[in-house]
Amino acid sequence: MAVVLPLATRTAGAMEALPKRVTSHMSGGRDLWSPPLEAAPDDPEEAVWSALGEVLDPEIPVSLVELGLVYGVAVRDGRVEVRLTYTATACPCMEFIREDVADRLGQESWVREVRLVEVWDPPWTTDRITPDGRARLRRLGVGA
């Protein structure tokens, strides 16, 4: 299933619209997101991975990358394709995650389009959590 995500917040400046101080992370951890790059990166795929590494799961402050939910990234002419899965087939946070991915990548002026390809193969299991993600979960009192 592929979804082309609207980049509604890029020109509006999502970060500027946020309050200056927040007491907990906002959806996707956006209060902690880096500012957009000033120029197109030399390695756009690495830049996308880095940006997605800042997008937190809506339910627990661990990134989508650390959770092993991002299965692949491809960039061509500013068009980004992200292959993504979810922890469960009825994950209640799917819409949040889609919006957060679009908003984080949409901050970048060199990103023209984000296409999200939702995949289920191979099925996600906790084995896909990275060592960093596992360590972060342990610090939060969650065993994985």
């Binding site: 469960a88 087939t89 009825a90 099925p123």
Partner: protein, 262 residues
Amino acid sequence: MSATLMVDALDVPTRAALRRLVITLADSKRLMGIRYSDWLLGAPTIETGIAASSMAQDEWGHARLLYAMLKDFGEDPVAVEHERPDEDYASVDPLDAQFPDWAAVVAGMVVVDGALSVALEGFAGGRFEPARTRVPKMLAEEEFHRSLAVAWYRRLSQASEEARSLLRAATQSMLPPLLTWLGAADEAAERMVAEGVTRPGAELVAAFRTAVGPLLSEAQVDVDAFEPAGEWDPRRGRGPGHPDGEALERARGDRNRMLFVE
């Protein structure tokens, strides 16, 4: 395994047969979730009610992924999910009415959800690419349902005679229509086997008997003593009835129709 099957390359009868298979699985998952959700507040323990909630959520996720396969047929999955009349629903017969007691829920976990998993395993192992890539995740989630089902079936099998009697009666009433459904060998089912989409009905029935037989025997139910029974509607691939109206109102979201934003 021969090449992946593409819907566009199928002739009309074979497309119809594949669509019937997808719909019967999707509708069954949708209704299975509703039957679990009926017990969120009526399960014997709070923990089991929460488990019923989680299983309902899983079943609806499975249904959503299965309905989404209809995009390959040029259909709008949202319309299929929310706009069909009662008589078009194709879920398996034992889900037509609410489970009357907790023993029936437990029997349903084992034999209805179990039969659906056997059918899904056959689908995942076939040539239809969307099934090959999506169904394994469903089956992984079903492992948790299976664990809870086994624990409760054993528990009731060792409980009072009244509990055992309710469990046996529920199990026995569900088996014949499920065997009919799994073992279907009508023209549409044969087409699916011929195209390599799924396994022959006789093999699915055998796999089901093997999967549930030892557990059912703990409640003195001999699965091998049961044979397929009941009428058959070849249009939908199930018996002639349909789920009760209240469940289908919920399945379609009739009361919330004005709120749909998809």
